[in-house]
């Protein structure tokens, strides 16, 4: 029961490992960035799950609700999302420049070109 009750943490771990696996195993630079985004997104869910309080309502003042969930993690994660978006943007623009100068986005191909120098 308690293991299933914490299902969002299982989702976090699953997403995190999927993203991490893509970063490590994929040789395609664009796919690596996608994996990295997935990896970061899993941490966003972790933070938001931390803020939930059992039986707590959403943190908006209204009648009949006495217990509120903690809004601070949401705010923190807004900042982290901004950081994540800029990382993805920068990573993808680097891939564009790599594509321009190597004509490839596959790691193996890039290594091959560097070694033939």
């Amino acid at each position: 029961m308690s293991a299933l009750g914490l299902y969002n943490y299982w989702i976090v771990i699953f997403l995190m490992m999927t993203g991490f696996y893509v970063v490590i195993s994929s040789g395609n630079l664009v796919k690596k960035i996608i994996g990295l985004s997935l990896f970061q997104a899993s941490v966003f869910i972790l933070y938001i799950s931390l803020g939930k309080i059992s039986n707590g309502g959403p943190p908006i003042l209204r009648e009949g609700v006495e217990l509120y969930s903690n809004p601070l993690p949401h705010v923190l994660i807004l900042t982290a999302i901004v950081v994540g978006v800029s990382t993805t943007a920068l990573g993808l623009s680097l891939v564009v420049r790599i594509k321009e100068s190597y004509g490839a986005v596959e790691e193996e191909e890039i290594h091959r070109q560097d070694e033939s120098l």
């Binding site: 990896f39 923190l76 982290a80």
Partner: protein, 492 residues
Amino acid sequence: MIDSQLLLLQVTLPLIAAPICLLIKSGRACWAIAFIVTISSFSLAAIVFSYVLTYGVLEYNFGGWVAPWGISYRVDIVNGLIALLVSAITTIVLVFARTSVSNEIKNKNQSIFYTAWLLCLAGLLGITVTGDAFNLFVFLEISSLASYVLIAFGQDRRALTASYQYLVMGTIGATFILIGVGLLYAMTGTLNMVDIAARLPQGVTNRTAQTALAFLVVGVGLKLALFPLHLWLPNAYTFAPSAVGAFLAATATKVAIYVLLRFLFTVFGFNFSFEEMPLDLIFVTLGIVAVISASAVAIFQDNVKRMFAYSSVAQIGYMIIGLGLSSKAGLTASILHLFNHAWIKGGIFLALGCVAYKLGSVRLGALAGAGYRMPWTMAAFLLAGLSLIGVPLTAGFISKWYLFEAAIEKDWWLMLIVIVMGSLLSLIYVWRVIEMAYLRRPDHEEEKSEAPLSLLLPTWVLVFASFYFGLDTRLSVGVAHKAAETLIGYSP
């Protein structure tokens, strides 16, 4: 009594100047703005440092919200020293950058370069002065994203792949730090570092706190190029523009080590980090492997910048060994080596920058006879190299000596062998360059072509510093000692 807003200014000045640089298209004007801003940050850091030296702690609360509720900046002697070091070295390297960058980077891109430079400086200083764990993560990402951009400015196309690799590994590291901070927040409900320390349960085994520590150490380890996590570093330092290589080698890894110190000592406390968790053993093992293996790899490098990038990994190993000794003497040695190594490695990379400027290559073969063609540059390199090896009368000697003493205090005689071996290995790789520069004649006799004064002057300032702190140790040793005392004093 000084105004605590000065603390804020040293971070916000570069942060405000960065977009201004982006709007101005002229590279020269941007350099002037960047220089004025860094030198003011340096002066502010000096004022703050002299204040904390006498009074202990300086705090600034944002918007008047008192800490733990608001974000606060908090400087004690440890981060006061690091902020001073970072801003001082940035100022000196920026003098070098003016000529070096206009040679390496197209005119229309120079304003973007200085924008990224200022953002990186703002991030590094922000990490240093903040007292809030989440704010630290944000500044870490500001400085990291800016440094990816700076590295990608390198002329060689491999700079792009180096920057990409650093981006992937750096982001994984930063995300680990984010997880660690999140777990700490889940435990304590607060993000203020001092407040977290006060609320962490003491004396009981706590799985969440242990996990948080593990995530933080690995995350920060990626940023500071702790031995098996250092793979991004050699390429990044090799292919980045000369000024950027020197800037990052002298500041970015040092700030990451500061972050590690701050989390281990201020947030988790000495007992938790080193007695409940086996970090001392892990650090000593990784440090030893780093010193020996990275120095050995450095010997076989053909690209001199890459050689000294590996040497950086080895030198970080010394700092980690000092930490792993888990004593006040070891911590003093770590902080001292952090301080001294910043000047030494900055000097070496600037000298190599002079070589790259004049000879257009830093491959070992290109350096043949460089000692005759550029006598002042190679003399600077030789002196900085001596300091790196740890010859007496140099700063490198002082910090290794303190590491020696700390190891003897623990009766770890094996450690002495490691330290001596590391020095011998560094002697070999420095010798390879010196031999090439002084004992080989170039194939065809060429005229003297010394680097311009605007490059030599900052190089020599750093080289001079790496000797000055070997002779006059009052500032470095005195402060390192006090800083170690402060850090250990946080633990109950």
